[in-house]
Every structure is written in structure tokens, then in C-alpha cells.
Amino acid sequence: MEGLAAVALAIALVGVGFWTLIVRRNLIWKLLGLNVGASGAILFLVALAHRPGARPPIVGLGPGPSADPLPHALVLTAIVIDFATLALALVYVIFLTEHRHTQDVRRLERDEERGWPQP
């Protein structure tokens, strides 16, 4: 039950997040969408490690089978990496906002087509 709900949630999060990523025109919104989508993939890995009645992968923590520890370790790395990517992306979004006075993807693309005229 838990695993099923988690997996369904993971897929839904990928859908919602990527939908935002595509349809929103503002770069920060896109990054928010990406965040949610990426958290879907991470959740999927955690759900993969789970099994009915599992306990945390810590020695001596109750009876029952242990959850698969490897995905947990991978996911910890992935969470940190997502944060790093986000921080860097935000810096360059701020850069574009400073130089082009917009975060709108379409305006940036129009500018690119016209050869970046001085604002």
C-alpha cells in the first residue's frame, strides 16, 4: 500500500513538475517545476528501497526486514546535487535579469533572434 502510493506520487510529481517546466514562461517558475520533477525521481528511488513492513536500514532497530540501503545512499547524493544545480541556475537567472531585465523565456528567445539589442 505504502509502496504503491509512493510510486504513484512519484510519477504524478514528475508529471506536475515537468508540465510546469514546459508551460511556464518565467525561468524561476521553470526551476520550481524542475525541482518538483526531480523530487519525483528521488521519491521513486526511495519507494524502490521500501518493502512492506520494512524497518530503516539501521542495525538493531526493531524486527522485520531492512529497507534496501543502497538507494537511500544514492538519493542522499542526488538531493545535494539537485540543490547545487539549483543554486547555480538561480545565479544565472539573476544575471539574465540584471542584464536583460526579464526572466521570460520568450522574451529572451526573441532577443536572441534579434541579436541581443541593448535594452
Partner: protein, 212 residues
């Protein structure tokens, strides 16, 4: 365009569901308790991160460190001449910030040191430390923050921490020394590195003026 996107996305979700349906139920997996014992840990995840898959973790730390560098360089590209909007500052906030500082540092240290026994470890500890430090600093006002902090000092501490982690990792990879003392030291070093790094990144976001 939107229609195409919707079709593609629905297709992707169906695909994911199809794939996922083939994965469960999963076969039994090793619990890794023998590995944890070998590394002197109770938390298997800690033994994996700091032991078995240390090679990944090294690059993870590196990702983090390079982000700090990238944020610094990126923010330097900006051309801010004007002061930033003010951050709320009240005496109550300032006083509670002073009171909270001690417990938060102790809690972060606890999360780091006990990371090989229970949930925790260097990364969350560092994140807690960095976030809390900046929150408290912001309560005192950005101007005072910038005046009190000497950036070169921070950078030295940061790179020193990375270098220490590299040294521990190198010794471990080449010599194969294991034990809970190593895990505690590694967790503390990572916490230090991540904490300082998070603090530096947030600090720069909050107060950087650019140089151009």
C-alpha cells in the same frame, strides 16, 4: 505546442507507470549489516556513503564545492551599484537569534557525530548549520553581517575543509583503514564543509554587491 507537450508528458507518465509495474515485487536484497559492522557503524547508509561508495561521495562534495565557486564567480558578474532592499530587523528577533545560536550548533554537531549510529550525517548537519547561521545573521541585519565577515577567512576555512576531506578519502582509498573513529571524523569534516559552504552561498546571495 502545449498539445504536443501534453501528449509527450502523458506518454512519459504512462511509460514510467509501465516500467514501475514491472519492478515490484523486488527480490530480496542484502541488508548490508555485515558491511556496517565492518565499518564500525550501525547506520548502514552511513557505512555506504562514507565507506563503500566513498568515491561517489567525494564527487558529491566536489559538486557542492564547485557550486560555491560558481555562485561566487556568477554573482561577481553582476553589476549591482545600489543597496539591496532592507530585511526586517526587530530587537526581539535579534535577541532570540543570540539565544538560539548555541542550541542549533549543538544540534548540528549531534546530527553529524551520531550519523554513523542513527539517522543523520555530515550533509544534513552541515545544511542545518549553514541555514541556521544565516537565518540568525539575517535577523541581525545584512549590513552588520557584511561588516563582520571577512571573506578570505571563510574561503580558507572552506578549502581547508575540502582538502581535509580529500586527504581522509585518499588515505582511506589507498590504505583501507576502517573504523568508527574514521566515520565520525569524516562526518564532522563533511558537516564543516557543507555548513560553511551553505553559509557562504546564502551569505553571498543575501549581500553580494558584485564588482563590475
Amino acid at each position: 505546442m502545449k498539445a504536443l507537450a501534453a501528449v509527450a508528458l502523458v506518454g512519459l507518465m504512462v511509460l514510467l507507470a509501465l516500467g514501475v509495474s514491472g519492478v515490484f515485487p523486488r527480490p530480496a536484497v542484502p541488508s548490508g549489516e555485515d558491511i556496517a559492522a565492518e565499518w564500525g557503524a550501525k547506520n548502514v547508509v552511513a557505512a555506504i556513503i562514507l565507506g563503500v561508495r566513498l568515491w561517489d561521495t567525494l564527487f558529491e562534495i566536489l559538486v557542492y564545492a564547485m557550486t560555491m565557486v560558481g555562485v561566487k564567480l556568477g554573482l561577481r558578474l553582476l553589476r549591482w551599484e545600489r543597496p539591496l532592499p532592507p530585511v526586517a530587523e526587530t530587537p526581539l528577533l535579534r535577541r532570540s537569534a543570540d539565544l538560539l545560536l548555541g542550541p542549533i550548533v549543538v544540534f548540528a554537531l549531534y546530527v553529524a557525530v551520531s550519523g554513523h549510529l542513527g539517522p543523520g550525517g555530515g550533509f544534513p548537519a552541515g545544511a542545518i548549520l549553514g541555514t541556521a547561521l544565516l537565518l540568525l545573521a539575517l535577523a541581525k541585519g545584512v549590513e552588520r553581517l557584511s561588516a563582520e565577515i571577512h571573506e578570505p577567512t571563510l574561503e580558507w576555512a572552506e578549502y581547508g575543509a575540502i582538502a581535509a576531506v580529500l586527504a581522509v578519502a585518499g588515505a582511506l582509498l589507498l590504505l583501507g583503514r576502517r573504523g568508527s573513529a574514521y566515520l565520525i571524523a569524516a562526518n564532522l569534516l563533511i558537516a564543516l564543509e557543507v555548513g560553511i559552504g551553505a553559509w557562504v552561498v546564502l551569505h553571498r546571495f543575501a549581500s553580494s554587491r558584485g564588482e563590475v
